[in-house]
Symmetry: C2
Subunit: 474 residues, 2 copies
């Protein structure tokens, strides 16, 4: 029998170390089946540990069936039918951290969905969390409403009615942990009666991905400046459509009311369902936000999806959706016994945030802040690119789309050149099914301040325009 | 044109009220297509509001396409193709609350997964949340690691290794928002190569439900006192199996190591996958917890699933799973671009809770507390039921199963009689596919204190045994 090394540096108690080493020797057959183990007294002496330590390890191995005791004879290794390999120790954590940190060396980050770094109301959130924790803490020891807390749903209902023109009752609202969660619930709700989803092209990649995993066929429908091409939609024979009518992703188009009503007609004729994603509708910098499609026909089959990710925090993982009345019985049937997706503490804190008026105030502050950034970015593009670029989707959200005129570079080449200058860009091509025909670049303005935005755009102009290939006469 | 009532009591600014009323009149065709609107000056005078108010409302209606302007002529109503109904106002919230409160009038609650009501460490959680919020609050303005925070994963890895005998690296750990979330991720991971899942019968209803929604066939395999019937498992031709080997749900059986190794053999021969749910393994009241199956063969296809719901809080919605190395590339391919399921704030707070040693301390406290409750329940059953009942699954978890001897009542009848006495029970039959052949009742002991448990059992004895049908000679 090998000597045990019990002093290797970890926090486990001695008997656990002994237990683990014995188990390993049994599994690797260094202690073969039938082998007699040393007596408790003998092993304790050999290892200079107390008998209790050995007793404990043996008892545990007995309980689990690795060894057995024969009366008046001692302990023996059980006969286990299979060899089990012993795993190499964990990979060094330092390496993992390095790998993660290596990704973060950009000087300018045009991420299209990052918020202002200083914008999270941490002190307020601390106060509201404390308030939430001081109420009935026994609530945290049980499962709560799978649909989300009623108090929070009431706040969201009021907000949606006043600010988004959404007409619903709190019973139609479901609290979710983000768009992917909402979409997964929707796909499960619809999979009994629908088999195919139409999505915008270009558009967000997520809806198609989630629905495909629930065995839906996914059709890409081209987007025009007034939104989805309805003739194409009809040709797909899809009965479910995902759209972003208030601020089309990525191009920022607004679907005018006439097309909205035609889409509602389509829904009525086909018995279809519209999934309206209103993801950053609060952020409109000129005029009022466009009211939701849902408000035009609240009794129809429109599922409204919204989030706190774009104005409050993408890291808190709270979103919501509004289900049509007709889907509620099926929703309850499928999800009544599920647990909620979002932590009760988060829900309660968000409830206080909304109820005490902080949400509306935060919204106004953020709108002003992002308007400043948005305007700075537009100015910088105008200054450094002039007639060599035009801008799409301005006036709302957290990004614009830059369209380069007479650009000799492909999108990957544009991004590579930007990266060489330590500027992080995000491809528009990923929003296309079938490739991006033109040199379009998404420029998110949430993360950087106006000065950084200006410098970042200058860096881009340097990376692209100063190249001699680009210096064609205009 | 109707007069506008702009002073009805809501918080919206004047121009919003005007906008809404105009929109409603257009949608209901009180203002028909082609109708000319009053000029800005005229309407402002009529309503005694500023011209800006009218300007704003008109501009918004223009943006959305409800009206259009003709140069030098004024504003006209667009021709919209469809009438849109106006929704009735929301249902009364008072009614909803009443309905919810009506469900909570039991005096004794034997819920099998409720924790001790006073056990949530609210003051500590407040302190740790404050600490988490005082670190780099800009983290809350971006999306974070879809797999979960590395720091938390490291803590979980250490805990699993020391306490559960699980051998893994933090790169194999995924933070989830509960069992349903873990199972949904697993189903998506496996659906390309597997089509059928075997589950325990009786067993938890959730795995079968989640996998069915991902188009898996689900087979029920009988459970024996040493765990799953492996011959039956083989006959199902399933290649994925969900098991609770440390504390079988609902009967509390422990799968001995020999059967565990046979199951591993099955996995190797079929190229199969074992989903090991170790849901309440920390709570074992006699001897040490049974180490996880995963630790026997960490390099194989075992997916380990664990949760904080049974010892810390079911309302916080945090769980985790350990994926085999072989599944990691596919996991990253499918979920790299997803957002995490759990809030960053919750993850950070839990990290501090574990890192500062509170989790292990809490675990020990809870084990002691639940052991006291467990023992009190056993004693009460012995006292009030004597030879008329036997107990299954004792010594661990948060519930036992009561088996009534020579019981004349069906399970629904037993539950109904208990409800008449204001005792809430949970049917074992729901854990069976194909009905519960015997009068088994789950008794959760997490929620009540020892005195309540005793009184609750007395109430049950009164509800059942005092009936003359039951008073057969022994």
């Amino acid at each position: 029998m090998n000597l045990f090394i019990l002093d290797y540096p970890d926090r486990r108690p001695l008997h656990m170390k002994l237990y683990n080493q014995l188990k390993e020797q049994i599994l690797t057959e260094k202690l073969p089946p039938g082998a007699k183990l040393p007596s408790v007294r003998q092993l304790a002496a050999e290892l200079a540990v107390s008998r209790n330590t050995v007793d404990y390890a043996y008892a545990q191995l007995c309980t689990e069936g690795f060894i057995y005791s024969k009366s008046r004879s001692g302990y023996y290794v059980s006969s286990l039918e299979q060899e089990c390999k012993v795993r190499p120790s964990s990979p060094p954590v330092g390496l993992i951290r390095e790998r993660i940190n290596a990704q973060k060396n950009f000087e300018f980050d045009f991420h299209p969905a990052s918020l202002s770094p200083e914008s999270f109301p941490d002190k307020l959130w601390r106060k509201l969390t404390a308030e939430s924790l001081s109420e009935k803490s026994e609530q945290f020891t049980a499962y709560c409403d799978p649909q989300g807390e009623l108090d929070l749903r009431l706040q969201i209902q009021g907000y949606l009615e006043r600010f988004r023109g959404v007409s619903c009752s709190p019973e139609q609202i479901v609290i979710c942990s983000g768009l992917q969660d909402s979409l997964a619930v929707i796909a499960q709700l619809l999979q009994a009666e629908h088999a195919s989803l139409a999505v915008e092209n270009p558009g967000h990649w997520l809806p198609g991905t989630v629905f495909q995993r629930y065995a839906f066929t996914v059709h890409s429908v081209p987007v025009q400046p007034d939104g989805l091409d309805l003739d194409c939609l009809q040709q797909t024979a899809s009965t479910v459509v995902y759209i972003t009518p208030s601020h089309q992703f990525p191009f920022g188009y607004v679907m005018p009311v006439e097309k909205r009503l035609k889409l509602i007609q389509w829904m009525e004729h086909t018995g279809g369902v519209i999934i309206e994603d209103d993801y950053d509708s609060e952020l409109r910098y000129h005029g009022k936000p466009i009211p939701a499609l849902q408000g035009l026909y609240p009794e129809g089959g429109i599922i409204y999806v919204g989030t706190f990710a774009k104005v409050l925090s993408p890291a808190l993982r709270v979103s919501y959706m509004v289900l049509p009345d007709a889907l509620l019985p099926h929703y309850h049937q499928l999800f009544r016994q599920y647990a909620p997706a979002v932590s009760l503490l988060e829900q309660k804190t968000l409830y206080h945030f909304m109820m005490q008026g902080y949400w509306e105030r935060h919204l106004r502050t953020m709108r002003t802040r992002y308007k400043r950034k948005h305007d700075a970015l537009l100015q910088a593009v105008q200054h450094y690119f002039g007639s060599r670029a035009s801008i799409l989707g301005q006036g709302a959200g957290l990004h614009i789309v830059l369209k380069l005129i007479d650009c000799p570079f492909s999108e990957p080449e544009l991004i590579r050149r930007a990266e060489d200058q330590l500027v992080r860009l995000f491809p528009v091509s990923e929003t296309y099914s079938g490739g991006n025909p033109e040199a379009h670049i998404m420029l998110g303005f949430g993360r950087m301040n106006p000065e950084q935005l200006e410098k970042g755009v200058a860096r881009l102009a340097h990376a692209w325009l100063d190249d001699k290939e680009y210096c064609s006469p205009e």
